[in-house]
Each structure stands twice: as C-alpha cells, then as structure tokens.
Symmetry: C2
Subunit: 361 residues, 2 copies
C-alpha cells in the first residue's frame, strides 16, 4: 500500500519553513489513526492512557496545534464573538471592551473587533461579520431595525449594549438613563437650583437623547423653567462650546448644567473655571454621566451617574453565551441602575433660600 502522500513529512532540512504539523502528521508519528489524535483534544473523549501518551509525545515533537478554523468548519462553532464598537476614543468604551474581553476569554471565546468609524460604514461591517461565522454579536453601536432583523434571519445571537430598539424587542443590557437623569435633577432641584441647562449628546445617540429627555421632563415636572438645551458630540470641546453658548446671555445663565457625559461635563467645568472664572460648584453646578475614570480625579471630582460597566458587561456576555448555547429566543432586557456619585461639582446640600442673600459661612 503506497503511503497516502509524498509530503515533506516534516523533514529536518526545513527548520523554520511554514506549513505547520497537522493531526495527520501527529497520527503518523504516533502510529495511530488521525481520529485518535482528534479525540485527544476533545475534552470528553475516550482514549486509552497509552494512546494519549503517544499522541501527546508526538504533539510535543511536532509542535502540533489544532487548527481552530478547520474545527469550526465542521462543528459550526467558531468560538468567535464579534464586538461592534463605534468609537474607542469615547473613553467609556475601552472600559466596556476590556470587561467584555475578560468575560469572553474566561469562557473560551475570542473577540473579533469591529470598530465602526462612521455610521454609514456599518453595512459593510456587518457583512464582514457573517463571513467570519461568529457565534454571536455584541453591539454597542447604533443598529437599525433592518440590521437587527438581518441578524435574526441569519440566526446569529445578538445582544445590544446600552441600546434598544423602539420597533422591536431585542436582547439587551442597558442602564436606565431616564431614571438617572431624573434623580440628578431631583437632587439638584432639592438643593435650590432653578435654572437648568443641558449640554446634550448627539441626536443619533439614544442614550444621549434619553438623558436629555429624562432631565428635561423632570425639570418641567418640578415646575421649573424650560431648560435650555445645546447639542454636543460627547467630546471635551463640546463641553467648552456648550458653556460658551449658554453664557451668551448672562442674564438668563443657568445655575445647573447637566451634561450628556462626563467628558463634556469636564470640558464645561474647565471652561467655566478657566475661561469664565466661574466658581464650580459655588456659582454653578455641573454634572455628567458615566463615571469614567477621569471623573474621579481630584481636579474634577465630578457629580455624575456611574454606570455599572462591569456588571453590565458581565451580563451581556452571559446573555450572549446562553443564547449561543440554547437558541431560546424570548428577548430579555436587563436594566441596570446608575449609581449617583455626589462628587464636588454640584451644590447638593444647604439650599440657599432664594429670597435671602447670605454669603458668610
């Protein structure tokens, strides 16, 4: 019987040339069948100790590593999850990504990263996802109904991170932005603030819209002046510009500014202090959302609503994995509450009686 092939048989004349060893080579060397080798790498398989020993020895010798791609082809499990993230420079996302990575790695899955530069690029990005046969997807980007249904059609489990769909129930983990915004306004109002303003996130950010809406509604509920809203883009400069705009008319200047995220709040505070010489929080209260690391720095010590990123990421990973394992599909939404962080950029106690003017302590 002629040998199956006339391969190089990993001769030692080619020390560092490519073409790594296959299970076949290992089988050859170990004098067992190729399927025996395969079994040695499958957790619950039944292999005799001696066979296993021989295989392991050959494996060492040939530097054999199973080819995950080939395996995926037949098992229909790639152990790959796609993570869709819009903007890693958003400071909030790296934390999420890091946490997700940790979670998935501990479950033996790898992350295929998809950063979406512009919302318009998302379509082709999504096509890429199919190609790689990922087992599931975590999306922290804006997704349209079409996109979501497409995932469904392809039978790919999907969990949205901090996003939901108005038109359809989807698996998602979110943080209750409205609740957070309402708490924030309530606390500020209780401390006597009367003239609210909002530096909002961009219109295409659902999270941002919710924060703005929640805050605005609560302000109105409390019978206070309609808050002035200026739009930002979640970046530092937006906070700076936002304040400038709000300060154009000094007469109606706000005494409390709610910003769509921490970074804008920081920009706003910096502009207030360095450009307008406004004392925060004495003359002006500023608050943000997210609780990113810089918000905790002494220089800012921001009043904010911290999102439980770790818990949320963990929940997202859990949900996705359970979806992957048992394709049960009754969408679940897990809602977390943000944690109110008092910080030091808002006056929260000692409401000053509006009628009286007291300056001394």
């Amino acid at each position: 019987m002629a040998s199956k092939k006339n391969l190089p048989v990993t001769s030692e004349v080619t020390p560092q040339k490519k073409r790594s060893a296959t299970s076949y080579d290992v089988a050859m060397l170990a004098g067992v069948s190729q399927s025996a080798v395969s079994r040695c790498f499958k957790p619950g398989a039944s292999v005799s100790p001696e066979t296993r020993a021989r295989v392991l020895k050959a494996t060492k010798e040939l530097d054999y590593i199973p080819n995950a791609l080939a395996r995926s082809l037949i098992t229909r499990r790639s152990n790959l999850v796609a993570v869709l993230i819009s903007n890693l420079t958003n400071l909030y996302y790296p934390e999420v990504l890091s946490e997700l990575s940790k979670q998935f790695v501990s479950k033996g899955m790898r992350i295929l990263l998809f950063t979406v530069p512009h919302e318009s690029d998302i379509d082709q990005t999504i096509t890429q996802i199919w190609q790689y046969q990922v087992d599931g997807v975590i999306a922290a980007t804006r997704l349209s109904l079409e996109h979501v249904t497409e995932f469904e059609r392809h039978g790919i489990p999907l969990v949205l991170y901090n996003r939901t769909l108005a038109e359809k129930s989807v698996d998602a983990v979110v943080c209750d932005q409205i609740e957070g915004a309402r708490i924030l306004v309530s606390r500020l109002a209780a401390a006597g603030h009367q003239r609210f303003a909002i530096i909002s996130g961009p219109t295409d950010s659902v999270v941002g819209q919710e924060r703005t809406r929640g805050a605005r509604e609560r302000v109105l509920e409390l019978g206070l002046r309609e808050p002035q809203v200026v739009m930002g883009h979640y970046d530092y400069q937006s906070g700076v510009n936002g304040l400038r705009q709000l300060m154009k008319n000094r007469a109606s200047a706000p005494d409390a500014i709610i910003c769509g995220n921490d970074i804008m709040a920081i920009g706003c505070i910096d502009a207030a202090r360095h450009e307008f010489r406004i004392d925060v929080p004495k003359m002006l209260s500023v608050a943000g959302f997210d609780g990113v690391e810089p918000s905790t720095w002494m220089s800012h010590n921001l009043t904010t609503l911290r999102q439980p990123v770790q818990k949320m990421a963990q929940a997202a990973a859990e949900m996705l994995l359970s979806l992957i394992d048992n394709h049960t599909s009754s969408p679940e939404k897990r809602v977390f509450s943000a944690q109110f962080i008092e910080g030091g950029t808002s006056r929260l106690d000692h409401p000053v009686p509006p009628a009286t003017k007291k300056e001394q302590k």
Copy 2:
C-alpha cells in the same frame, strides 16, 4: 445520474432556521457549477457577464455569504491579525487599538483581540493565537525572547509596538523614549530647575524604564543632583502617592517631577494642587509622557512628550502587512520621535537666577 445529495435544498418551510446557504446551493439554483460561484467572489476571476448575473441573482435569493473560515482553510490566509494588548484601561492603548483597527480594516483584515490581564496569562494566550491561524500579530505587551522565537518558528509575522528585545532584533515600531526624556530634562534644566525627581513606570515596562533612565542620565550629565526615583504603576493614584512620597522630606523636595506617563503626572499635579497647595508650575514643574487626550484639557494642559500614535500605528500595520505578503525577514525597527508639548505645568522660560531670590514679577 442521481443528484449529488438529498439536501433540504433550502425549502421554504424553514423560514428562520439555521444552516445558511452554501456556494453549492447557489450553484444549484443558478444552474452553474459550484466553482463558477466561487469565481464570482474572487476579484480577478474570469466569469462571463451572464453567469455572473445568474449567480448574483441566486446569491441574493438565498442570502448567500461566502464562508471566510472555509476559504481560509484552503488559501492559508485568514485575514485575521491578532492584537495583543495588556491593559486597555491605560488610556493610551485605546487610541492605539482604534488606530490599528482603522488601518487594518482599510486593508481588509480583521482584528482578533487578545487582552492580557496578567503577564502570567500570556502563555496560554499565545497558544490561542496559533489555533486561529492569524496571518500576523501586533504585540503591545511585554514578550519574552522565547515567545518571539516561538512566533518565528511558527512562521507568524510579528511586529512589536513600542517594545523591543534586547537579545534579538525584531520588527518593531517604537518611539524614542530616551531622546524624549533627555529633551525634557534639558528644557527643564535650562529653565533653572535643579532638583529633579522621577515618578517612574513599573519595572516590567521597558518604555517606563527607558524614560526613567533617559531622564536620570541627562540630569547627571548636567551635573545636577541625583534624582530621587519613586515607582508607580501608570495610574492616577501612583502619581498621587508618588508626590506624597517625594514630599516626605520637604527640605529636599524637588522642583521638577518627571512622570512615567501623563496619567501619573495628572495625579501628581492634582495632589500638589489639592492636597499640598503647591502651585504648579510656579513652585513645582511636572511633566508626563504620551500626550493622551486628558493631558490637553485646560485643567491640566500638561507639559508632555506626545507620541505620534497615528503614525506609529500606521507604520505597524504597514510593516505587518508587508511581512505577511512577502515573508522577507530582515527585521526593521522604525523609530519615531516624540513631540515636545510645552503645556503649562512646567516653568520653561525665565530661568530664575539661583543665587538671587526674587518673588515679585
């Protein structure tokens, strides 16, 4: 001739059940051979317009997407690159990752993300890399000689990001930390600073060590006092603690502190201002490294050495791709210079004559 198989032939009784269409199904429906379908998805292939049209039609109808995994199996190109990153919370890395992602996506490659929680976990992380048959690796983590040679043995192109190996020349893109540190010290010394101190990065960070070494050597070269060095871990708190330690002995307190990165510098400044009531930069100059976004904020406006992250990431991606395409292996190291940012946390002009004491302006 009996038909090749008795497949479900994508009957319409299973609307959203799994098992997506294969090139075979498409071929069937289009009435062409399976290889014809394959050709339609290969850029430079020769297919008649009508064949292509029929295939495309069938493709649409069946929602066909080529399986990248199966393709990789035979082409030996996965179009996957592994990116190894230690610590996404380092603020500097998200920027790098984002840039790398942009670069690779534009070249049709996807990023498989490997975050390494602890240095000890790196071994198994690396094994994972082999399994996925990545075309190349970008490592922004500490790698031992063994690891690097292992990559070489497996014939996987590797580019180090901001790292090199003492024992061996490797493809790498780095930023000249020593040069940067020397410039920094020179500028500070020229402005009359005499008592330098360093809050260094962790000992296992080569970059950190170089920054410290470069600074220290230059200080000594200039005939100044041996700088006190305290160790940090690249985080905010390390900057705070660092300053506390340096202030223990007020008599020999430094007048210039060089921090291993921006975040520690910010911590240091915040501690100086808020805890010690030290005026930065009037009484104390503080500088950092990296030029991360928060360093540009008005509240800090840090004196720092900005790394050209974009250029570096671009270079790294380029190098890796060229390594992947033509396995030429004469290691190249691309060294970039950091850009000195004056900022406002260091006194850089008006050197105060050391003998005289003047306080008024």
